[in-house]
């Protein structure tokens, strides 16, 4: 069976062969299946960004192999180039990549590199802009005239327009206000629902991952420390804490409530759900 992304015994070192050699990834084995929405979580410096840079061959593993859609990236240059379009990588603060005169042309940069026809490119630009919720009149503006949140959307649209099989987003909500953050996150789950693509979401925020992901991969010191469903991973709250991570605040409240003897579920990851449960409890008590 082929996976969209498969890593076999991948290790990566920075400055190999020098006294400054640092192991950024240690013997990583990872399979991400078709249509999954996987969240990668980890403390700063745990190797998240190094890991996703392997998915499209920006970094080559020092040891092991990266297999994208059944093809080893080490095979030849064409395979590597094809991987750039199969795996759409959207880095942290992607608005830093905007450069064209208009938003539309910037979104078209990726598809143009794929050597698509002009009509196809136009079609994709419109579709991607609609996906991220950019109004059509913004498309003819300069990307530098957009607001911060709009820039972020335009940059994400630039990656989406390549219609990759796998969309990888590194901290897509970093630096946005709570409203903008929720919009981006719901946009991502919407994208996954409508296209059926595989999505990998990198974040250090447990709340973000819990609200959208089916599967959570926890990175710690260059290794995969945990890999499972949201419930499975969050049930190891002590271990997570030792890695400098934590379960969402609302979950912590509910865990504490359970310790105090209240009959509440432990798998509460969003404030909305938590509030609903608490309201019901209070209502029941007052009855």
């Amino acid at each position: 069976m082929t996976y969209p992304i498969e890593l076999r015994n991948v290790s990566y070192y920075y400055s190999p062969g020098t006294p400054l050699q640092v192991a950024a990834l240690k013997n990583i084995n990872l399979k991400i299946g078709e249509g999954e929405l996987a969240g990668i979580i980890g403390h700063t410096g745990s190797g998240k960004s190094t890991l996703i840079s392997h998915f499209n061959g920006l970094l080559r593993p020092v040891e092991g192999s990266v297999i994208i859609d059944g093809e080893d990236l080490a095979k030849d240059k064409e395979t590597l180039r094809a991987a750039r379009f199969k795996v759409g990588l959207c880095f942290q603060y992607p608005e830093a990549q905007l450069f064209e005169e208009t938003v539309a042309r910037d979104i078209a940069f990726g598809p143009k590199n794929m050597k698509l026809s002009d009509e196809e490119i136009n079609e994709r630009v419109k579709k991607a802009a609609e996906f991220v919720g950019l109004k059509p009149e913004l498309l003819e503006k300069s990307p530098f005239d957009l607001s911060g949140g709009e820039k972020r959307r335009a940059a994400i649209a630039g990656v989406m327009a390549m219609e990759p099989k796998v969309l990888v987003l590194d901290e897509p909500a970093a630096g946005l206000d709570p409203g903008g953050k929720n919009e981006i996150l719901s946009m991502i789950s919407e994208y996954k629902k409508r296209t059926g693509c595989t999505v990998v979401l990198v974040s250090h925020s447990m709340e973000d991952i819990a609200s959208v992901a089916d599967r959570v991969i926890v990175m710690n010191a260059g290794t995969i420390a945990m890999d499972g469903t949201v419930d499975e991973v969050f049930s190891h709250s002590a271990e997570l804490r030792s890695m400098g991570l934590n379960v969402p605040e609302i979950t912590r409240i509910f865990i504490r409530l359970r310790e105090l003897g209240y009959d509440v579920p432990a798998d509460v990851y969003s404030v909305e759900k938590g509030a609903q449960i608490l309201r019901e409890m209070i209502r029941r008590r007052s009855v």
């Binding site: 180039r81 750039r84 759409g88 959207c90 880095f91 830093a96 940069f109 590199n113 990656v159 390549m162």
Partner: protein, 271 residues
């Protein structure tokens, strides 16, 4: 790749050279570079080379690092050596074929120039190895401060230099980030002809310019917030003071220059 460019190649240490007043170090480095060009025979040059070697020993910078700084000028060395060997004529002829001949004078001049360049590089790299960029710009500011009489904004110039040096690694990182982002969108930076490659740089340089301007504004704003108003009335945390070691080094350098002049006088000119 881009990360490998070392800039401001400071080698941390506590040697005599590290502790010297950067102003004195700067002046003496300039003085000794001039002295290299005063040498006109192998004896005075040997004295100069000896001085450079002694300076390396006193600096505590490993010889390996010094060799690393000579590496980039290897091409220039080879080039000057070849030109001098074939184009300078005079003295005994060692080798002759068609229009090409190698003479005594040619070999001597080539050897002389090569040694001279090596000594030059060693002495100037010692300055950057033992002085941090900040110390260096500080020293420049102090040394140029008499120009204030002519309304030259010495402090501003020095601040600009410090900031430029400070932001080089930041910009290198930024270029790497942008390059990765554009590569992820399928930008092809490695293949194609010259025009294609030049065009491929547009998606890198425009975002770089934009972010540099943003950084500059933010920095200016942050400096204003901390009440930065330029050099007037500004005091320093680290005062520069001349110590005995500075004067001793000055004396040694003067002795070397005197030695060079004497040796120049007693032996025949080569160059």
């Amino acid at each position: 790749m881009v990360r490998d460019i070392t800039f401001g190649q400071y080698y941390a240490g506590k040697s005599l050279l590290h502790r010297m007043d950067p102003r004195m170090k700067l002046i003496l480095t300039f003085g000794m570079i001039v002295a290299i060009f005063i040498c006109h025979n192998f004896y005075s040059l040997a004295l100069m080379a000896l001085f450079a070697a002694a300076a390396v020993v006193f600096s505590g910078v490993p010889a390996k690092m010094i060799l690393k700084s000579i590496k980039p000028v290897m091409v220039i060395l080879a080039f000057t050596a070849i030109l001098n060997i074939f184009y300078t004529k005079g003295g005994e002829t060692y080798f002759e074929w068609w229009k090409i001949s190698v003479t005594e004078k040619g070999v001597n001049t080539a050897l002389f120039t090569v040694i001279r360049i090596i000594v030059l590089v060693v002495i100037s790299s010692l300055l950057t190895y033992t002085t941090t960029p900040t110390m260096l710009t500080d020293a420049i500011e102090r040394l140029l401060s008499p120009l204030k009489i002519f309304h030259v904004k010495v402090h501003t110039l020095a601040m600009m230099m410090t900031l430029a040096l400070r932001f080089i690694p930041t910009l290198i990182e930024e270029i790497e980030r942008i390059m990765n982002a554009q590569k992820a969108r399928g930008a092809d930076l490695e293949s194609g002809g010259l025009i294609h490659r030049a065009k491929a740089l547009v998606p890198i340089f425009i975002p770089l310019m934009v972010s540099s301007f943003r950084r500059a504004y933010e920095l200016a704003f942050a400096m204003t917030c901390r009440c930065y108003t330029g050099g007037n009335g500004r005091t320093r945390m680290k005062q520069m003071k001349l110590h005995a070691r500075d004067f001793i080094t000055l004396f040694v350098c003067l002795a070397v220059v005197a030695g060079i002049i004497v040796l120049n006088h007693f032996f025949t000119r080569i160059i």
